[in-house]
Point group: C2
Chain length 239, copies 2
């Protein structure tokens, strides 16, 4: 995705950690913090896997990728594992985050404790609506979107969070990229186009609901109790 492909295995090795593993590391980290708070010093892969809702073999393979070794016959040292995962995820430094769009969702995000809890600091709040500029929120003053460049530079922002309406998202995204932001978390219900080297992750509430709808629909069909509305599908999936 970011490079010209003739070094695919090379890239895989240079990075070392598969995407699927990276996506699970934060889950492990959360479970470990809970265990640490409970005063537990070591944990077995079986126990941690149960807490994280995954298979224990998968957990062990995941952890093996980041070179953090447990002790056979005992398990993993909780504190050491927390440190190891945090380091792998780059959480041993504080990332400055800019939040664009201070509407309903933006307010909720600004007040969400999960941002500040691990290495993330909301460094700037921005909005295009002049009526919102100047508002105080989460210890910050909302600035106008035109000041994005300055705010990004001043606070060393490298992660942008887009919580604007969909029509504004692409332009905001372009501005963020132009300002030097290379990671974007997009809450707007649209697809963003970005140049190579910029990572975008999408959080879409509507899509999640639609996926649930599919499964619910399927379950209703399986129970033999068709939903009130007609549930017709002439199969003939001629594959």
């Amino acid at each position: 995705m970011t490079d010209q492909g003739d070094a695919a295995p090379e890239r895989a090795r240079s990075r070392g950690i598969p995407d699927a593993t990276v996506a699970r590391l934060p889950v492990y980290l959360r479970a470990l913090h809970t265990l640490a708070d409970l005063g537990q010093a070591t944990v077995s892969s079986e126990e941690l896997a149960t807490s994280a809702g995954v298979n224990s073999a998968k957990l062990r393979k995941d952890l093996s990728h980041l070179g953090s070794y447990g002790t056979r016959g005992v398990g993993y040292d909780v504190a050491l594992l927390v440190d190891s995962i945090s380091r792998a995820l780059g959480l041993n430094q504080r990332w400055a985050v800019a939040l664009i769009g201070v509407g309903n969702l933006g307010h909720a995000l600004a007040g969400y404790g999960g941002f500040a809890s691990r290495g993330f600091r909301i460094a700037a709040l921005l909005d295009a609506d002049p009526h919102r500029v100047g508002e105080r929120l989460a210890g910050l003053t909302v600035r106008h979107i035109d000041e994005l460049d300055r705010e990004v530079a001043e606070h060393g922002v490298s992660i942008g969070v887009i919580a604007t309406p969909a029509p504004a998202a692409q332009e905001v995204c372009d501005r963020l990229v132009a300002a030097g932001v290379t990671s974007i978390l997009n809450f707007a219900p649209c697809v963003l186009a970005v140049p190579d080297g910029v990572d975008v992750r999408k959080v879409d509430l509507s899509i999640e609901l639609q996926i649930l709808s599919f499964h619910e629909h399927r379950k209703a069909a399986l129970t033999g109790l068709p939903v009130p509305t007609e549930d017709e599908y002439d199969g003939a999936v001629g594959s």
Copy 2:
């Protein structure tokens, strides 16, 4: 955790649509609605794929799963495809949704237009805090969590959205399942245990940020410019 591999392939084949495809169908649907609003009657796989940010071959294979056929040499009929995907996702009926937890995030979710836009209707707002009970929000009155059973039965709720703090999530989840809800969208930062037959999808803002952090960290390492705070980390990860 719950899938002991007894019927995993069975289920996949019974309906024919792979999970990865199901996750993309809502994206296609959104792009199609945009095209329809623009008055476009037909669309090629190449064009739709670009709008949705995927490979055109992948799009065609996805669409082939739901038996909706395009016309060779022309493309897909937009209206027909909208109908076909909506039907596959079960969006041709209205799903009643219960939202539990009317805090910051809950308010944002209740006001989010994306819920109502496609087949979803928030039928009940619930909270454990007596101070919040009685509040009017999005045309509804917030009820106490103890009335969950009644509300679920009365409105035929089959999808629950959990927007409570993490410590309360599992209990709320158990109550939802006991009330007959079989699909849950969880915004609380924790892993939920549910019996077989219940689907849970998780939306975790903190995890998404940590994944971005990993990639940002990796990119910084690749540029040969180590971040200033590489070696130091505040050991006291508060809270």
